[in-house]
Every structure is written in C-alpha cells, then in structure tokens.
C-alpha cells in the first residue's frame, strides 16, 4: 500500500492573533507554528499503524514555504518514509488541493490521508477538493479505519453519532479524533528523520477562485456579570430580560 499523508502548518491555539497589510495578511511574526493536530495525531499515526501492521510506504506532502520544513521533519520523525514540499507562500485551500492532487495523480496512492480540518480556518475544504480532483471517494471525519486487503471499513462522525461505511482503495480519508493515538517522536526517529528524503517541487499554476478582502478582530468582550450563587432567580431574570435568550 502507498499512503500519502497531507500535513499542514497552523498557528498554535494559544497564539496571539494579529494582521498586517491593511488587515489582509495574518501577522506571523512571533507566532509559534505547529503541525495541524488532526494531521499529526490522527491521520499520520493511523497511516503509520497500518504500515507497521501490513507494510507499505508513507509519503508526506506539504504545500508551503521553506520554513515549513521543521514541521515536515517532525512528520518524518514520527514515521513518514519520505516527504515532498511544494514550494509556495500563503497558499489557499484551492491552490493546496490542486498541488496535492497533481502530485498524487503522478504517483498513484492507495489512501490519501488528511486531517478533518485545520484548526485555524476550520474549513474542511482541502480533503473534499483533493478527492474531486483525483476522482476518488471521500470518507470525511473518520474516527476508525480498518483495512483488509483493499477493503476498508470506516467509522465516520456525523451529527449526534457515527456512520459505518465500506469502501475499496483508492480513497481519500479525513481524520477526526479517535482514528489513532497521538505519538511523540523519539530520539531515534528524530535522528533518522534528518537523512530521510525531502524533495522540493515547484507548484503548478492555479487560477484562484476567492481572495481575502480583510480580517477583523472583534471588540474585546465586556467583562463577565457575576450573579450571587444563592440567587439563581436573578440569573434567570437576566437571561430572560437582558440577554433575551430564554
């Protein structure tokens, strides 16, 4: 089996958010970046577990600038066999999907793994775009994946529960919590990652479909109104009369 794991970079959840260029560009100065947790903890680790159990080969792919290589090396330390970086600055979901689909078509993968979404934009756009561009089924928000030969049984999260589906390779799967247990790279993995191949490719041209107009930061929330714990009638009154929510 050939596995492609798409990894993305996102600001750490605790990062302070600011914008430059007339509020059109995210200000990355001083921002701590991490590998998107859904990509790292669930998608990559499940691919690795399948490789360990049944053999196979894992390629990591990232679309981004050279400073993304820290995250790519971490992915290799966790267990990718090799990596590809498509060289681009601030790519859109549509741009990223086209690059990944283009690479995937030439290489022919059995399973393309992504996280269910990135934690900065929460769009869940890339897995569906890739699936359409490579003409594969998509199983999104997968919280379990069992593979037997080329047949997969997958549990996907839906509103208020789960759905169990069957599908044959090749397919695209987007990972939610539960697909695997997070792994921390060990020293041996970190050392080995340094010598694993990391290929840099130039992107194909893509016509963009959307553009950022601007970002807005909401006004800071007014401070909390505290209610006496002995007087819950007052809380009910506030929710009814002031917040008008009940």
């Amino acid at each position: 089996m050939k596995y492609l794991v798409c990894i993305s970079k996102t600001p750490d959840t605790t990062a302070k958010i600011g914008f430059t260029n007339n509020n059109k560009t995210f200000d990355s100065s001083g921002v701590q970046y991490i590998m998107n947790p859904y990509d790292e903890w669930y998608a990559l680790v499940r691919a690795l577990e399948l490789k360990e159990a049944q053999g196979g080969d894992i390629t990591l792919i990232n679309v981004g600038a050279a400073d993304n290589e820290t995250i790519i090396r971490k992915g290799l330390a966790i267990g990718g066999d090799k990596a590809v970086r498509i060289n681009a600055e601030n790519p859109s979901a549509w741009f990223v999907s086209n690059q990944i689909a283009n690479y995937a078509k030439t290489e022919g993968f059995d399973i393309i793994f992504t996280g269910k979404e990135t934690i900065d934009y929460n769009g869940a756009e890339v897995p569906a775009m890739i699936a359409e561009l490579v003409d594969m089924p998509l199983i999104s928000f997968a919280s379990r994946l069992e593979l037997s030969g080329n047949k997969a049984t997958i549990q996907r999260d839906i509103e208020g529960g789960v759905e169990v589906v069957e599908v044959e390779t090749p397919f695209v799967i987007s990972a939610s919590k539960g697909l695997a247990e997070q792994r921390i790279p060990n020293m041996r993995g970190i050392m080995m990652a340094k010598t694993k191949p990391l290929e840099v490719l130039e992107p194909i041209a893509v016509d963009e479909l959307i553009e950022i107009d601007h970002f807005e930061t909401p006004p800071p929330k007014s401070s909390v109104k505290l209610v006496d714990p002995a007087n819950m009638e007052e809380l009910v009154r506030l929710l009814h009369e002031e917040a008008k929510i009940i």
Partner: protein, 320 residues
C-alpha cells in the same frame, strides 16, 4: 439565475439546517433579485414543505431507494440541479454532509468556496462572505471572484422564518453514478437535538467529579430543552460519550446559550464554543479562565448552584 440550496433530510423530515439554508437563501436571493430553489436528493414525501421557510421551488432528485451518503453521488446530483436552475450561488449546511460536499462541488464547478459562513454576504461591488477564523479570535471576509459561488452555512447563524407558503416541486431525473461507498450502519442518538443544531447547550466538565453525578446536568438540560455536552477530559475518561465532546478536537458549536459547568475553560475548549451568543459559566474557582469568555458567571459549588438554577428555571417556565 438562482440561489440553490441543498436541503438535508432524514426520511420524510427536513433537518433544521434545511430551514436555515432556505431562509438564508431566500434573503440572499432577494438581495440578488432572483429566486431561492431547494434541492432534495433521494426519497422524500414532504418536499414541498420547504416553501414554508422561503424556497420558491424545490428540485427533487428522485430515487426509488434511499440514496445513502456518498459525496461523489451527491456532487453529481447537486451539479445537475445547479445546471438546471442556472444557480449563481449554492448554499450547503456547514455539517458533516455539507463539509464533504463543499470542496468537491467547488473543484467540479470551479466555483469559489467560503465555508462556515455566519452572515449574509455583502453583494455590493463583489461577493464578500464572512466567517469566524483563528478559534473565533477574528473574522475573515473573503471575496469570491469566480462566476459561480458556494457557501457552507454555520448552524444557528440564521433563524428560520416560517410562512404558510408551499413550494412547487419539480422532479429531475439524473443519471447518478453508482456509489463507491456503501453505508453499513448508522448509529445516532434518538430523540435528542444533535449538538451542532442545538440552540441551548448544557456542558459539564471535570468539576462534576464522577460520571454518576450527571443527573443534575440532565435535569437542567431537560428543563431548558437543551442538549448536553462535555469537555475533553470527561470524554477521554469515558464519563460521557465521544459525540458530546465540544472543543478544538471535538466539535465546534455555536448555540444561542451555552452553559459551562465545572469546566475551567482551557483555550482548546474555548476554541469550540466561544462563538456562542451567550455564555454562562458556573465554577467554584473565581480564577477559572472561562469567566473571561463568559457573559454571566456564578462563582459557587455547582452541586448547589445547578439544582437551584433548575428550580428557578422551572418556576420561570411555569409562570410563562
């Protein structure tokens, strides 16, 4: 020209997201001087009722059997309806279904996609759609430059407006491709509003001390007609089912009213709930970070406060 929206349904009942999409599409269609058309895929005996929430017409893509969800099949169906109705804009719910379709349709139709939209787009000199980004810490406003546009609509962003209109239903025969995904089993909780749709959510965390203590939470939720949720440590410890977990690695919700009971308010939890319209925090620790994100706070022992709140709410409801 039209605004086309996918109306999700379960058997013969539309989901709440279908009514939200209908009302949103109608408002957008009025801005654009066109009509709002719903598309329903698969068996459904009640298609015309969508008119009550704003659909001018419903395109029903029929099938003798239940069409289970395969994003490729649905993409073909919606693309056919979009073609039939000359759709300028396609609206999907930001749901497990809509998220699996948005990117596919965008790629198929080369139509720009903004997902998780929370307000009507600004259509004066462009098509600018707004969404919450960076864990609710900012709003991103995107201009869709392609001719055709796709939006996925966040739950609870629009209040469905009901009238007595019925929509005409037009059946469209589409040669749908065979599904490559077969659905073997669907396991959902019955009789409860799913979390992403819930208008009121009562959520509890480690402060509950023991899974056996959840009775007071369930009673409060019952009084409010609310859905229960929980924090990550509680789901990880199997105190509560996985599908109740809200937060960054669980599900993101946007109810009108969110009660956080015995939850400290780690940033990863806040990321999934901080776009709720009103947040009430009950916690014995006055330093709990959640109070900074709250509209109303109660510093006290939840085992005393929650039953008192429940009694006060019952008295309020009885007097209504």
């Amino acid at each position: 020209m039209s605004v086309l929206f996918l109306a999700e349904h379960q058997q013969d009942n539309y989901k709440k997201s279908a009514f939200e999409a209908a009302t949103f599409s109608k408002k957008l269609a009025e801005k654009l001087g066109t009509t709002a058309i719903g598309v329903v895929v698969g068996k459904m005996n009640n298609a015309g009722s969508l008119g009550k929430y704003g659909a001018d017409k419903v395109i029903h893509i029929q099938s003798n059997q239940e069409v289970s969800f395969d994003s490729q099949v649905y993409t073909e169906a919606i693309a056919a309806a979009a073609n039939q109705s000359s759709a300028k804009v396609i609206i999907l719910a930001h749901s497990s279904t809509g998220k699996a379709l948005g990117g596919r349709l965008s790629a198929k139709l080369k139509a720009g996609l903004v997902s998780g939209v929370n307000a009507l787009p600004d259509t004066d000199g462009g098509f600018k759609a707004r969404k919450s980004v960076f864990s609710g810490k900012a709003q991103g406003i995107y201009n869709i430059t392609s001719d055709q546009k796709i939006l996925t609509l966040t739950g609870n962003a629009v209040k469905p407006v009901r009238s007595e209109n019925e929509a005409s239903v037009e059946t469209l025969d589409v040669a749908l491709p065979p599904a490559r995904i077969s659905v073997k089993e669907v396991k959902t909780v019955q009789g409860i509003v799913p979390l992403p749709e819930a208008e009121i959510v009562v959520s509890a965390g480690r402060g509950m001390k023991d899974p056996g203590n959840w009775g007071i939470i369930e009673e409060l939720a019952a009084t409010l007609g609310a859905t229960t949720a929980c924090s990550r440590p509680v789901a990880d410890a199997d105190w509560r089912p996985h599908h109740e977990h809200v937060g960054q690695t669980g599900i993101a919700i946007r109810p009108n009213l969110y009660f956080a009971i015995g939850i400290s308010g780690a940033i990863q939890h806040l990321a999934g709930v901080n776009t709720s319209k009103v947040i009430v925090v009950i916690n014995k620790d006055p330093e709990a970070p959640f109070f900074k994100a709250a509209d109303y706070g109660v510093v006290g022992d939840l085992f005393e406060v929650v039953p008192k709140l429940n009694e006060a709410l019952k008295a309020f409801k009885a007097a209504q």
